[in-house]
Symmetry: C2
Subunit: 315 residues, 2 copies
């Protein structure tokens, strides 16, 4: 297992998440290198002592020769083109990703014939910053890292992805693609859309409103400081699930507004929100143990454990 454990990692895209992963992998003892599309991003990484090239073909040939774990770390709109290159040059490498949604990635992976070696991933971390300058090897410390347990997942690439996530300091939540996308619509993409709507409504109040703004506005709009293109790249590919949760949220707000007009009460939303926040604060990340990768029903058991809030802290 020693060889396996520290097998090479090849990060494709060294922005905030990919670049931080490259730093974290190197810090954890992995032979790790990467590719970045822009000269300026690759130069910045090289100046900090990391092995990052703008020559995708050369990087993929090297990865193929070393059986490196490929980490797709580009925004969703750039995923297809990158997978096409991988299918061409390094079709037998294990592949994971750090994209914020899973169904479109899984579909693209299948289309390019890479499904047998693919295990989806999504570290639930980030900042409103972007690019190499914002990278941090500690970004994944104590974070949650979603790792795919979709039907057909193979043990060997799955263990490599889980081990990398654990070595970066995260805990692992096993999840299937569609349930991942529905969950992140609620706890990542909806927060972005509501923050944007709140920031816009505040600014409509002009200098007086923004001058009076305090903690609730500051925290409620924090992620609206994220670059618009990045917000779109994160949220829009999850249109179906996000649309459903927006339906729910709009209905809740309409009910609250109508109650406010009818009898001066905000109605149920206040209690429901308080219960929700309390459930969030009181959630426990219980450790999943005793499921042996490759044993009968291992994927189903991991899937069910993840649904119930379980996390992996060790392999």
């Amino acid at each position: 297992m020693t060889l396996d454990q520290r097998a090479a990692v090849c990060v494709l895209g060294t922005g905030l998440i990919g670049g931080s992963l490259l730093r974290a992998a190197v810090a954890a003892g992995y032979p790790a290198y990467g590719y970045n599309r822009s000269d300026s991003g690759a130069d910045a990484a090289r100046r900090d002592g990391f092995d990052v090239s703008t020559d995708l073909s050369a990087v993929l040939r090297r990865a193929a020769g070393e059986d490196a774990l490929l980490v797709v770390a580009v925004p969703m709109p750039a995923v297809e083109q990158l997978l096409a290159e991988i299918a061409e040059i390094a079709p037998n490498c294990p592949v994971t990703d750090v994209v914020s949604i899973k169904r479109p990635v899984v579909d693209a992976v299948r289309k390019h014939g890479l499904a047998a070696n693919f295990v989806g991933g999504h570290p639930m971390t980030g900042t409103s910053e972007s690019g190499w300058a914002a990278t941090d090897p500690e970004l994944f410390r104590d974070a949650v890292w979603a790792v795919g347990v979709d039907e057909g997942t193979r043990v060997e690439p799955w263990e490599r992805v889980v081990r990398l996530a654990l070595d970066c300091g995260s805990v692992v939540v096993p999840v299937v693609a569609d349930e991942h996308d529905q969950a992140v619509a609620r706890i990542s993409h909806l927060p972005h859309v509501l923050a944007e709507a709140l920031a816009a409504a505040g600014a409509e109040g002009g200098a007086l409103a923004l001058g009076l703004a305090a903690g609730s506005f500051r925290d409620g709009t924090r992620v609206a400081g994220t670059a618009p293109d990045l917000v779109r790249a994160i949220c829009e590919p999850n249109a179906t699930a996000l649309g459903q949760v927006l339906d729910e949220t709009i209905a809740a707000l309409v009910t609250a507004r109508d109650a406010l007009r009818a009898d001066g009460s905000l109605g149920e939303v206040v209690e429901a929100g308080y219960r929700g926040r309390t459930a969030y604060e009181q959630r426990t990340r219980w450790e999943i143990t005793g499921i042996v990768p490759g044993a009968a029903d291992w994927l189903t058991e991991l899937h069910r454990a993840g649904q119930r809030g379980g996390v992996l802290r060790a392999l």
Copy 2:
């Protein structure tokens, strides 16, 4: 002015805001004391060395004898009854308040014949905690404190309120009641309602969604941890202005959802939100100078300066 500057302050209600104000006033050298309805709250304050009684009549008689500045620091639903007692026992004292909306307070003050000595106030600070245990003399440090400049405001009580706010470490935004209420609907009450809706939507996703939640959900739902009764007491009295800004926000979310369904784009809300957050981060609190309280048009000039983002840092 020395006598005036440190004239007694009488805080009526020693919860988070009132209790913190009592602490801050004492720390700033004011002779200050208070009233609290509950024995437990008053006991807790006394144990910490503060002069707090549950005998409202006695406290108001003392305040009347000392020409103390009365600070109404009870939730909106309790304001009317308190003003009735003030009108009965201490009708000539200057009166201010720290309630989160101004129009209903101003109307109640008029109804009880206290308008001549009233100057509305609203320190824009707080936490999701409540009660004496959460009080903090530094709560107002570097905060914004809205102070009324409504037509008919008299110089003497106005200066006493402004001086108290400045002595507690805040800057003062001059504002009229209706514009205050419209502004706080946008930057305080809407954030509460959206946080509740977001927390409820997240919890609908069960243990998986709450387990995957990271920074955007944590910050976006922070104020949903506030006790529901307190949220209602803060938001519901501002039903008209809050209803209008909910209309706006619902319309923006419907537009975003429809665009997402139609062409996979979130549309304008992302850009508008980014512009709004940027405007918030770049707002400047320029200092209002050269307006002499009591000079011609002083209230109008302060009102206009506040609309444009000006603050008072000194008298």
